[in-house]
Amino acid sequence: MTLNTRIELALHNPHLQRALDANYTRSQEKRNISMGALPDSALVRNRARAIRLEALRNLDQYLVQLETQLTARGGVVHWAANAQDASAVVARIAKAACSRLVAKSKSMVSEEIHLNKRLQADGFKVVETDLGEYILQLRNDVPSHIVAPAIHLTRADVAETFEEQLGLPAGVTPAQLATDIPLLTSMARTALRTVFIEAGVGVSGVNFAVADTGALCLVSNEGNGRLVTSLPRVHIALMGIERVVPTMADLEVLLRVLSRSATGQNITCYTSVVCGPRRAQEPDGPAELHLVLVDNGRAAMLGGELAEALLCIRCGACLNVCPVYREIGGHAYGSVYPGPIGALVTPALGGMREFGELAQASSLCGACQEVCPVRIDIPTMLIKTRTLHLAATGGAPVWNAGLKIWSWAMRAPWMYQLGLRVAAWGAALRATAGPLRLPGPLAGWTDHREFPRIASTSFRARWAARQRGQATKASAAAKRTDRWEF
């Protein structure tokens, strides 16, 4: 499916449109209040950015320090250069754990490496435990938002799926179930509680890894992150190598902006910082903790033009303010990472040729940069991505030619002025032929709005005339002929 097809589908999905509209307004209100209440939020954002820049600039050293610290606490660190290797590592650990059931909490990296597919092929049953992801899994669907993955579904959709897969609770009719969100949620709680208890392996993501202690920080509101990392005997944490911060104090600064930017909460309900498997004297906790460091294009990206996009802390604020995401939603991007940041990260990691087109899904309005907690200059990087995409694909001939000609004309004033006169003359000629429809690649303009008439006397012509002392005549004449009132 092409980008345009996915966009069309999104634009013609009324429930999605309502959900996106509601998300746009509510999430911004909440984020603005919460960030507004943070003392010295501008300074905190600068510091957050500086921390992330420092981490990236010395990423090799911090990863080594992380490994040393975590290993000293009994954790095992694995290095995976690409998606296949990462999945293979997880499969190997899970196999050694002798349990067929794997409980998963939210991890975008796991989606990026297609982990579930690999584990299922190897005979494991993988259950997503984040409520939104659980619902999507039951429906064979994919997330459409970083923080609210099932935003495109209605309660009736969920009820239909739960009735099918979990059975109707006693004494409840389908119609009742379709409107009872608390009941749906408690059905999920019961079903998943069994999974948490019986799973021998828990797979989680990592929000931040702290180099100076070897600790892994996971934030969640539902509590499934805590359950997945506390109950199963083996905990496997998947992490993109860029998600490092140097110190515990640095972690706290980033936590100050993460949930405020993501959901407008001052902090998530649960912030778990785990450091190695359970100690000998601890009553519970996993017996094994594995950290899988996933590269999958990040090291290369660090050396490229889009390196700044690696600062991202995956808060989703840019999605929430983007006027384009608001119209098309996450599925239209066709990627694990949607929205403004997705338009950078997806081509950078997944291939510029195939995914660079996503950078077209932007009017460069800059709302994203305004809310980014680490101040990533997304608009400038979108432009860079467009240039890289052109280099990777050669560009479309009609645009290449058009822009070439345009740039020649713009460097030779006589050519430009000639072009202006020709356009004005052409406009005058077809003045009686009815509404203007622009040709070829420009047709999109007139599909949705009128195009103005080229003025019969350009500004520079009027200026020149005025310089020659003929101001009154020229201006008056122009006013008579220009009928399109814009």
């Binding site: 606490r73 969100i181 889009l306």
Partner: protein
Amino acid sequence: MGVLAAQVAAREEMLARLRRSLQAGSTLPPFEAVTAPPEPPAADRQQMLYEFETQLNILQGRTVRTPRAKLTDCIDGLLRERGVHTLLAWDAAHLPAAQLLQDLQAREFSIVAAQVPSREPARTQHLQSLGTAEAGITGVDGVIAQLGGLVLCGGAGRPRHASLLAPLHIALFTPQQLWPTLAAWLAAQSNAALFADSSSVTVIAGPSRTSDIERVLTLGVHGPKELIAVCIED
């Protein structure tokens, strides 16, 4: 190539790739000097307690204040209101009221043993029995006013499950444990001490919540449905 050798090779390759990228004059923006945000002004305990209560309420947590002499009655009341019979709990030594658990047991509440066996089938069986508890009682290692957050460290006698599995989590604290910010609490800990005897530090700021279905807020999806922070006033 054996698994270990492959691992070592992958590690070397990844580190080499990183170093190459960084040396090649990465396009990361240049160093920016930043002013550290100022520390918040000192607040007294009553102010901090009030701020903590306000913040905790925002995420649907509750605070209850009780004089030490009335603690057992207070907890007893909260538990009976909800038909609680079975409890998960931290060891008495780690609670700010050493006598409480004994008193509750005397009043017919039972406490499930905390220790989770490592091997199957004992492990699964024990987790299932933990699942029958209707409430968990813990202490805290810090109370963060600005966030409405409770810091719970792990360690001997401090099971994670006591604040996680049951529908009700009761956290006991004293005003002396209040800190203005998480940064302040962290600054007072040493990295070594944090994780020597404990594999986890958790900040809890409210009962479990989700809005994954149509952005409608629902509490108690996986973790506790209710969080009550009990302030013991001496």
